[in-house]
């Protein structure tokens, strides 16, 4: 180190300056942590949402649902401010974990809400287990989340893939007398999970499985897969896609006349996707839906009315689900009189509540929400009462893996 005589700062000066600087930073940091520990600082709700990329429409509904629930309680709980810190996962696990870790470590977040993309959710769930952060998951399907990879700190609202296959695909097969099915699947964690659940169902139901084609996530040209499905000549084609991918494959399937030859099922859809594909494409096809804005429940009606008043458009089910679980989280926090995940987990596990589909419940032993799932059919454009009246209900079921069927054992 250069000496003062050489124009450099001396060692003593350097040490003094560093110590002073370090003390200042430490005081600030320690002050914040101390404030948090004493329950004086804001409660950070880390929103890990997919707000860019192919699922961005769904991501927006989710963020707005959280915001609406927080607004309803004036961003306050237990006399403390709630800060909704939103981070875009970009649908990439590594990016999501990095961003989440920063907020957890730098701002002391102990509550996380989100997300989109099962591959992202699994990575974030692992982080939450490590950091003991309570993760309220809205919109994720992989069976692993509340199955093999379950843990105390994660709760999931959406019906998971096994439930979807039994609650939507099974009635679809039964009601339409389907004897054979082929699948086209989005090649990532969720697609693989739902494909596995669907394949096992086809075996149980003794429906001929005419094969599967995997398509990369974000594919733009599905024509080879559709030609193959058309050649297979199955009674039904199950398209396991979400977001912009679902829209593209449905448009191209309609173009190629696949709807005329086979019944089409998209196991998991939503209003954002239906708006993008349009009524002509949705007509006559079948869709699995987690919740629907026209379902007659107090929560659905309340959220839809508030959303329409604020945003001048109809919300997808994501707004309803995130509104519900955000409200649930902070209501329970208020009742518990405490803002630590460890105080809330026992309250949430086994909790029955009013959700957008009706009476819902977080199961004690896997933290999976047990609720109805809807099989719906696309209406002809002439039968639509308004521009968002895309679907009519065909079946409503709530079939979930039993404790014996699920490897998760939290209670």
């Amino acid at each position: 180190m250069a000496s003062p005589q050489d124009g450099g700062i001396g060692r003593r000066q350097f040490l003094k300056t560093s110590a002073g600087f370090g003390a200042a930073v430490g005081a600030l940091g320690f002050g914040n942590v101390k404030a948090l520990a004493q329950g004086k600082g804001p409660i950070i709700l880390l929103g890990m949402h997919g707000i860019s990329g192919p699922f961005a429409g769904s991501g927006q509904f989710g963020v707005r649902g959280v915001e609406m629930a927080l607004e309803a309680r004036n961003y306050t709980v237990l006399g403390r401010k709630i800060e909704h810190v939103v981070r875009d996962t970009e649908l990439k696990p590594a990016v999501a974990v990095r961003k989440a870790r920063e907020v957890i470590e730098d701002q002391g977040a102990r509550f996380m809400i989100g997300t989109l993309g099962s591959h992202v959710a699994l990575a974030l769930s692992e982080l939450c287990q490590e950091k003991k952060v309570l993760f309220m998951v809205g919109d994720i399907g992989t069976d692993l989340l509340t199955g093999e990879k379950c843990h105390q700190y994660v709760f999931r609202w959406a019906t998971q893939d096994w439930g979807i296959s039994r609650s939507a695909v099974k009635p679809f097969l039964a009601k339409l007398g389907i004897k054979s099915m082929s699948t086209i699947t989005s090649d990532f964690a969720w697609g693989q999970s739902l494909l596995k659940a669907t394949s096992s169902l086809l075996e149980e139901a003794k429906v001929k499985n005419l094969g599967n084609a995997m398509a990369p996530l974000g594919e733009s040209n599905f024509t080879p897969h559709l030609l193959k499905a058309r050649s297979a000549g199955a009674d039904a084609v199950n398209m396991i896609f979400y977001g912009a991918d679902q829209v593209k494959i449905m448009k191209q399937a309609t173009e190629f006349g696949l709807k005329k030859q086979s019944k089409i099922l998209c196991s998991w859809s939503g209003l954002d996707m239906l708006k993008e594909m349009g009524a002509e494409v949705a007509e006559g096809a079948y869709f699995g839906v987690q919740a629907w804005h026209e379902v007659d429940t107090p929560v659905a009606k309340h959220v839809v009315a508030k959303y329409r008043a604020k945003y001048k458009e109809t919300p997808g089910y994501q707004a309803m689900s995130y509104y519900t679980i955000t409200k649930l989280l902070f209501d329970q926090m208020e009742k518990a009189g405490a803002a630590e995940p460890e105080s809330l987990i026992p309250r949430l596990a086994g909790l029955e509540f009013d959700g957008p589909t009706g009476k819902e419940m977080f199961r004690k032993w896997d933290h999976q929400n047990q609720k109805p799932f809807f099989l719906m059919r696309g209406k002809p454009k002439s039968a639509m009462k308004d521009p968002d009246d895309f679907l009519e209900i065909v079946a409503t079921e709530a079939i979930y893996p039993s404790q014996a069927e699920n490897p998760c054992r939290l209670a």
Binding site: P54, S231, A244, V247, G257, D272, E276
Partner: protein
């Protein structure tokens, strides 16, 4: 081995390739003339698609959307070139590349602000709805007509580049911009013309693709990657190369879908890598 499906998959690949051509032409032209990849090209394409939705929603006429979308995007391209890119003429091409990247990101966000984050639907025009029986397969009528239209555009471009004075200037500019400048031709205006034409082609492609894909703010990213591969495989700056590259990429994608569906994207990049190793200038590019 699914051999009897081969003819329809090869045909499908050729059809898909023709659609890629329209995007690839613009990139190839701009690269050939201005020596950089226009990253905003994909967003021009997305803008064309959104304008297709706007026009069809307002007046219910898809055919009107074609000239409106193409011309509007061309005008935007012209404005961007004259107000922004021109300031970087003579400077390192990396700066132009960075600028168009910034324009692309900015335009993508503006699309979300104006039209919202949820995508928009455009239907196939009623006149071209349905499938046509080609003997060995049933194929969407819209796509068949689209391919014929793209072939006509390709011919018009070829004619313009090969048989007109302007075309000869553009070709000369792609080979020796300094010499063309030295001969008293206003190369800046030539650049503007080429960039505008590239924008026109991207906007036109966006309108035509709108009924085939979901329109969303990120659709430009989907197409720019594949278009880039087409141009690299065919040869940067080569018109014929864009044609060959497009058809090859389309067929490879289609046949991979038949035999190894999860590798449709990967195989396209493998082909690009093989071409780059064997012939770095592309199949029909200049050495």
């Amino acid at each position: 081995m699914n051999v009897d499906l081969l003819p329809q998959f090869v045909f499908n690949g050729l059809m898909s390739g023709m659609i890629y051509l329209l995007i690839a032409f613009g990139i190839s032209l701009i690269f050939g003339m201005m020596d950089f990849i226009n990253f905003a090209h994909g967003t021009f394409y997305a803008l064309g698609a959104y304008l297709a939705w706007t026009v069809t929603t307002l007046v219910g006429n898809f055919w009107l959307a074609l000239p409106v979308g193409a011309v509007a995007v061309a005008l935007l391209a012209m404005i961007i070139e004259t107000t922004l890119l021109r300031r970087l003429h003579g400077l390192h091409h990396t700066l132009q590349l960075l600028l168009t990247f910034g324009v692309a990101v900015m335009m993508q966000e503006l699309i979300i602000i104006v039209w919202g984050p949820i995508g928009k639907p455009v239907s196939v025009p009623a006149l071209l709805d349905g499938q046509v029986n080609l003997g060995f397969t049933y194929y969407p009528l819209y796509r068949v007509c689209l391919v014929v239209f793209v072939a006509a555009v390709a011919f018009a471009l070829w004619y313009g580049l090969e048989k007109t004075k302007m075309g000869s200037l553009i070709r000369a500019g792609t080979e020796r911009a300094e010499m063309v400048n030295a001969l008293g031709i206003n190369v800046s205006r030539l650049f503007t013309g080429v960039f505008t034409l590239g924008g026109f082609l991207a906007g036109l492609a966006g309108v035509l693709a709108a009924p085939l894909v979901g329109i969303n703010a990120y659709m430009g990213l989907d197409i720019i990657v594949i278009a880039f591969v087409v141009v690299v495989v065919g040869g940067m700056g080569s018109f014929a190369g864009a044609v060959v590259g497009g058809l090859l990429v389309g067929v490879v994608q289609s046949l991979t879908g038949l035999y190894w569906p999860q590798a449709t994207d990967m195989m396209v990049f493998i082909v690009m890598a093989i071409v780059l190793v064997a012939r770095p200038q592309g199949l029909l590019g200049r050495a």
